[in-house]
């Protein structure tokens, strides 16, 4: 490691808050994109299942 200690790594001689904030927000935004995709996918699947159920109900009547 370039830094001598973990506290030095965190503070980065004064630049730590800028650097860690940047990486924190980036991780958050990228993770959100994946989570939104998973939710939309689940909603789409649910919609299609409902569609098939309705179709099954009308054809059996």
């Amino acid at each position: 490691m370039y830094f001598n200690s973990v506290s030095e790594l965190l503070s980065m001689s004064g630049h730590g808050s800028y650097v860690w904030f940047s990486y924190g927000v980036s991780a958050l935004v990228l993770a959100t994109l994946v989570i939104v995709a998973r939710r939309r996918r689940a909603a789409a699947e649910q919609h299609i299942r409902a569609l098939v159920r309705r179709k099954g109900a009308t054809t059996s009547n």
Binding site: V25, L30, T32, A37
Partner: protein
């Protein structure tokens, strides 16, 4: 295989869905490995910059976000052109899928740029050519998202978005060369493909890792979002209903 049959196959949402399903796990694994590995490398192991100190470490997320935001826009504009010229529906789905991903990456590049600018230039923001043209890129992405929602008719929305995406592509070379054409606080590119790069190899290697990682991550998200579009638009087809509810119903 002839060109037209290749085109036909690629244009088939069903074929694309099945093919992309096999790529998904690989894209997820390699993009996360490269992103996390490159970030740890750049954050903790690369020596500090002799001028900027440690703030330059923001580069390992800022540059990939900005580069992929631009690459994503060109992909979106190309998909828009393909949709307009050949009426390929899959291209319209790809175009729609890219807009929120590109907007998020552009937002990240603006935000990390501002946070990098504060300790380095002494200001969060300047209205110079580079930053302003990237802000325009962000609004172009938002414009495409808004246009998609503004139209009731799906085909009309796709056509309008394609035109906006193609016209807006003129902004991409402006972003790229803005730091050379106009006076700017923003530094010019340190990586050169034609001449010698002005960045030390020890700093460059983790950047290459996060850059490749971000491209793969974009590819992964692009497939995820396009596949959702396919499910939503093809919900009345037999193959989608069989896929979600199982063959034996």
């Amino acid at each position: 295989m002839s060109i037209s049959s290749t085109f036909h196959k690629w244009g088939s949402p069903r074929w694309f869905y099945q093919f992309s399903g096999r790529l998904l796990p690989w894209l997820a694994i390699f993009s996360l490995l490269l992103l996390v590995g490159g970030a740890v490398w750049g954050l903790a192991f690369v020596p500090a910059d002799y001028k900027q100190g440690n703030s330059f470490r923001i580069m390992y997320i800022h540059v990939p976000a900005a580069a992929v935001a631009m690459g994503a826009y060109m992909t979106m504009a190309t998909a828009g052109a393909i949709h307009l010229i050949w009426r390929m529906k899959l291209a319209a789905m790809v175009m729609k899928a890219i807009a929120p991903i590109g907007a998020s990456l552009t937002f990240l590049s603006l935000l990390t740029g501002a946070v990098w600018g504060k300790p380095t230039w002494g200001t969060w923001w300047v209205w110079d050519a580079r930053i302003t043209s990237v802000l325009i890129l962000f609004f172009l992405y938002l414009g495409v998202i808004a246009l998609h929602q503004a139209f009731e008719n799906r085909d009309a929305a796709a056509k309008a978005c394609a035109v906006l995406a193609i016209v807006g592509a003129v902004n991409i070379p402006i972003i790229y060369w803005s730091v050379e054409w106009w006076y700017s606080l923003h530094q010019p590119a340190s990586i050169s493909f034609t001449g010698e790069s002005t960045i030390h190899p020890s700093m460059l290697r983790p950047l290459m890792a996060t850059l490749c990682g971000m491209y793969l991550f974009f590819g992964w998200l692009l497939l995820l979002y396009t596949r959702i579009e396919i499910l939503e638009r093809e919900k009345n087809t037999r193959w989608v209903q069989d896929l979600i509810c199982g063959e034996s119903r």
